[in-house]
């Protein structure tokens, strides 16, 4: 059981700056995120797209913003729990007990949800019959590539994940690559490599097709794909891999008894607290009259939620407002020299 003053859910820009604000005022915190990297939507959805409305930064990309926020957190040595999703929370006297998908447990008086539009999950095939083969014959990520050796693997998708795995698995497996159109959206070199391997007969390229059927009793035996012009092909395959990017889902948060408004969480604008004491929501996931879904709003919301956490984390101390320019205590926390 990890004890911490505050647990932040979400390692996007708002979660990162909220951690900074907690540490500045002398509280400790840890961060959980379902993605395998820090940065949230900035890094997953638009790492290369320029952002023009971060105060005092005329232009930066999602990746640069993330790197700078990580740098700003460096003095604090924050513990991140990546590839973990917060699944359960329950009340434990005045604290919350939190459990993640990996079984990590936290005990904390404060939970700050900085979850954006929810946790990122792989998009799955729309076909119902795919569900019963999931994690047996149909996968949305690769954990152990050895299982594909000497088997037939049919990969769906047109982005880098689909192409990279088609190239990699073509070494030891029979690979079909199926995509709904002729163009691929992977890196140029990767796309060229796929076409080269297709010419050599190492990858069987099937474009303008989509999955339309999956047959088998418990393990997958064959699949059916349908062309844009309605032509149907059926063939045997041992495994199917689908790479259609990630979708964002509110997930378990929806079951925590919080007041929701569509897919956002209602908060007050003093503490950014939800209807549950000690649970706050900041950034894109929170809503209140006048809410703007801007990164700068998330920073403001996180700063205020952090101050609210102080009261529950240190009930016998009084929070005193201080400026980073003049406070010796804050400079000590940052590890910089005072004048």
């Amino acid at each position: 059981m990890i004890k911490t003053d505050a647990l932040i859910i979400g390692a996007g820009p708002t979660g990162l700056f909220t951690a900074h604000q907690l540490k500045i005022i002398g509280l400790d915190c840890q961060i959980v995120d379902n993605l395998d990297k820090i940065g949230g939507q900035c890094i997953e959805l638009y790492p290369d797209k320029p952002i023009y409305d971060i105060p005092a930064i005329p232009e930066c990309t999602g990746e640069e913003l993330t790197q700078n926020l990580i740098k700003q957190l460096e003095p604090f040595k924050i513990k991140f729990h990546l590839k973990e999703r917060v699944d359960e929370i329950k009340k434990d006297n005045n604290n919350w007990e939190v459990k993640t998908s990996n079984g990590t447990k936290f005990n904390t008086p404060n939970i700050i949800i900085a979850g954006g539009v929810g946790s990122f999950e792989p998009r799955k095939f729309p076909l119902k019959e795919c569900e019963k083969f999931e994690n047996k014959s149909i996968f949305y990520s690769v954990k152990n590539k050895k299982i594909f050796d000497d088997k037939t693997v049919t990969i769906f998708g047109g982005g880098d994940s689909a192409l990279d795995w088609a190239i990699e698995l073509s070494k030891n497996s029979k690979v079909n690559l199926v995509h709904r159109r002729d163009e691929f959206r992977g890196a140029n070199a990767t796309v060229d490599k796929v076409h080269e391997l297709a010419k050599l007969g190492k990858i069987n390229l099937l474009t303008k097709y989509q999955l339309s059927g999956a047959k088998g009793s418990s393990i997958l035996e064959s699949i059916e794909i349908t062309h844009e012009n309605k032509e149907v092909k059926t063939f045997k395959t041992d495994y199917v891999l689908g790479f259609f990017g990630l979708i964002m889902q509110l997930g378990p948060i929806a079951n925590w008894g919080l007041n929701l408004n569509k897919k956002t969480i209602e908060v007050d604008t003093e503490k950014f607290e939800t209807n549950q004491k000690g649970i706050y929501a900041v950034g894109d996931i929170c809503t209140y009259p006048g809410k703007l879904k801007l990164i700068l709003s998330g920073f403001h919301e996180g700063a205020l939620a952090a101050r609210a956490c102080f009261k529950l984390a240190k009930p016998n101390e009084k929070y005193r407002f201080e400026f980073t320019t003049s406070s010796k205590t804050i400079k000590d926390r940052l590890g910089v020299k005072s004048d």
Binding site: L45, P126, R185, Q210
Partner: protein, 106 residues
């Protein structure tokens, strides 16, 4: 104002006067039409404002934006007439546009 018809997957029709200059996505969101999520808010970074444009309209719309097809690859059940509604700007030119909404967005 331009009339846009949104048809839900269950067949329910909504004909709305949308202000010119907004996107077809914003017209749906501002009028609480179910079936358009628009998680990323119109930055073409998700694929949750996905619509099917009725064939006779598909060719009349401006060309897809660069990268739009890449996002449509990641939509739920993409078809030949798929578009992201955040990339269709409302103007007099598309008076009477009909879009069908997919069964779901995620």
């Amino acid at each position: 104002m331009t009339k846009i018809t949104y048809i839900e997957h269950n067949g329910k029709e909504h004909t709305i006067d949308v202000q010119n200059g907004l996107t077809v996505m914003e017209g749906a969101v501002q009028n609480d039409i179910p079936g358009i999520d628009a998680d990323c808010g119109g930055s073409m970074a998700c694929a949750t404002c996905h619509v099917y444009v009725k064939d006779e309209w598909y060719d009349k719309l401006d060309e897809k934006s660069e990268g739009e097809d890449d996002m449509i690859d990641q939509a739920y059940e993409p078809k030949k007439n798929s578009r992201l509604s955040c990339q269709i700007t409302v103007s007099d030119k598309i008076e009477g546009l009909i879009v069908h909404l997919p069964e779901k967005q995620v």
